[in-house]
Amino acid sequence: MYQVMGCDISSTQPKEQWVINAEAESLDVLLVDFLNEALFLFGTKGMLAHTLMHIQLRHTESGYSLIATIFGETYCVHHHGALKEIKAVTFHQAEVIEHESGVRAQVIFDL
């Protein structure tokens, strides 16, 4: 997501901490929810995520829940440069497919 915004995440430092909670009935909706939450935190707090840690993904009665701790720093136009805007993470053609070797996910951003 930050790559789409044109942000070089390797230039950020894990100075601050945020926590994202998400719940959804399916993995693809959970992924869209998680990314929209990250977008919300960028829009309101300027969150640029450097590292994702302590990811707790659980099956629940109604689907899945996710708690993720994110380390990163606050966006500053002078330091990080101008970024492209993502309006939203859409549900259009969103999918999470589990393979033997891992997981393949697809989301489409509204720019």
Binding site: G6, E85, L111
Partner: protein
């Protein structure tokens, strides 16, 4: 696979219901041979057919001449559903609720502005915050945002951002009825608190343009347009507040379609009956976000007037900087339309489509009622834009709707491969259009060649009777987010 189209009129093609057994109505596409191949490659025709599955859809799923692929709904689509039996869909409005355009006239001539265009763009660029993460000069509390959600552009005028006359020249007088501030989440308000009076990024812009040609003298007189006149465009929407509202209500509607047993071919079309608790809450939140967008464009208008006034050392009033009109092109509205000889209350979704109410319609401001509402159709940075007028035929054909722009032809990633932002900036300057951008790298994504030719799009709309060409405008200065 190509979608089979049947020619059924001038610049009019039909996707028969038989295309897909779930279609409740046919699809109708306003286009011609010049654009057909692109449409078949784009995938938007399948989306037009998908929208025809919506419960309660009336007449046809419509595609305006600028149609192109969107998320679930095609952009340039119109879907009217019966208020009593049909649904409302957040995807049919889009993430940028009440994304729209306004046009401000002036008494300035091209010869006054061209020599000072760099100075003017500099003044505009420093007056109006643009780009991702840009914060407005006004920070609002939640209580103030709730007031904005109800009063729209009227809130801005009451705070000194503009004049009462501006409100007469906005669709809905700049504030939709039915806005419910309680249906907007605290997260949406949080995203909006520093964003009033900000342009945003992507395809949003402020443009200094010159009236290049008059196509209809009578309408041009009514709209106050003449050749060589300088005018100003503002294209923006409801910013993060609207994006958050759409995101949250799409998630809510994923549950609603199960509750109401609605079967759809694409999840992004999720919806709920207009007269259900979910549908009514969405409508209230959407109208609130739409009102935020009207206030946003109104605040920017005030700063634009100040910047122009400073540059030319003359008051905005003396410069004749009147709002010609403001249109919403991502919206759902409850409107009355005549269908098969009967007046029906419909929920008209315009996803990248402009209202085009014809002469005599009571919702058209008095000053334009004789000729029809101004239909604002911006093109791209390198070619032109059109001012059109609403028509009676649009009332019969398209629930009073017309195209909202040129329509994208190429994806953003393909566009960036073909030209760099800097190169494009130089190229446009050589052609007579100066550009300043918040993010120069994104400029290439808005290059003229990524859009359909607006002359063709406007011509199709004119021939199909969806709008009447009034004037053609060319850009001389552009600010992009």
């Amino acid at each position: 696979m190509a979608v089979k189209l049947k020619k059924t009129g001038t610049c009019k093609y039909t996707i028969p219901k038989e295309h897909n057994p779930g279609m409740r109505v046919p699809g109708v596409v306003y286009t011609d041979e010049r654009l057909l191949d692109d449409l078949q490659e784009d995938g938007c025709l399948e989306q037009v057919a998908n929208v025809a599955h919506l419960p309660g859809i009336v007449g046809a799923s419509l595609a305006m001449p600028d149609i192109h692929m969107g998320y679930g709904f095609a952009i340039g689509g119109v879907a009217a559903t019966d208020v009593a039996t049909g649904v409302i869909s957040p995807g049919g409005v889009g993430y940028d609720i009440n994304c729209g355009v306004r046009l401000i006239t002036s008494t300035l001539d091209e010869s006054d502005v061209r020599p000072r265009i760099d100075e003017l763009l500099g003044a505009l660029f420093s007056s109006i915050p643009v780009g991702t993460g840009s914060k407005g000069k006004v920070k609002l509390s939640t209580a103030e945002l709730r007031e904005v959600a109800q009063k729209g552009a009227g809130w801005a005028v009451s705070k000194g951002y503009g004049v009462k006359q501006d409100l007469i020249c906005c669709e809905e007088a700049g504030a939709m009825d039915g806005a419910d501030p309680d249906s907007v989440s605290s997260k949406a308000y949080a995203r909006g608190e520093k964003q009033i009076g900000t342009l945003g990024a992507g395809n949003h812009f402020i443009e200094v343009a010159v009236v290049d040609a008059i196509c209809d003298e009578e309408c041009a007189r009514a709209f106050g347009l003449r050749t060589k006149q300088v005018v100003f465009w503002i294209h923006s929407g409801s910013r993060g507040l609207g994006h958050q509202v759409c995101t949250e209500y799409i998630k809510l509607m994923i549950e609603a379609v199960k509750k109401y047993n609605i079967s759809l071919p694409d999840r992004q079309l999720v919806c709920a009956p207009v007269r259900s608790p979910e549908g009514e809450r969405y409508y209230g939140a959407m109208a609130a976000a739409a009102n935020f967008a009207w206030a946003n464009r109104q605040v920017m208008t005030h700063w634009l007037r100040e910047a122009v006034s400073r540059t030319f050392h003359t008051s905005a009033d003396q410069l004749g900087m009147h709002l010609l009109y403001d249109v919403a092109h991502n919206i759902a509205k409850i409107e009355t339309h005549t269908v098969d000889g009967q007046n029906r209350a419909l929920c008209v979704h315009r996803k990248g489509a402009t209202r085009s109410f014809g002469p005599g319609h009571p919702l058209v401001p008095d000053k334009y009622r004789r000729v029809g509402q101004p239909v604002l159709v911006p093109g791209d940075m390198g070619r032109s834009s059109y001012i059109m007028a609403g028509t009676e035929q649009a009332m019969r054909e398209s629930f009073g709707s017309c195209c909202h722009g040129a329509g994208r032809l190429m994806s953003r990633s393909s566009a960036k491969k073909s030209i760099s932002g800097r190169e494009l900036q130089k190229q446009l300057a050589a052609q007579g259009t100066k550009v300043r951008a918040g993010h120069i790298g994104s400029l290439a994504e808005e290059a003229p060649e990524v859009y359909k030719d607006i002359d063709i799009v406007a011509d199709i709309a004119h021939q199909a009777g969806l709008g009447k060409k009034v004037a053609r405008l060319v850009p001389i200065g552009v600010i992009k987010g």
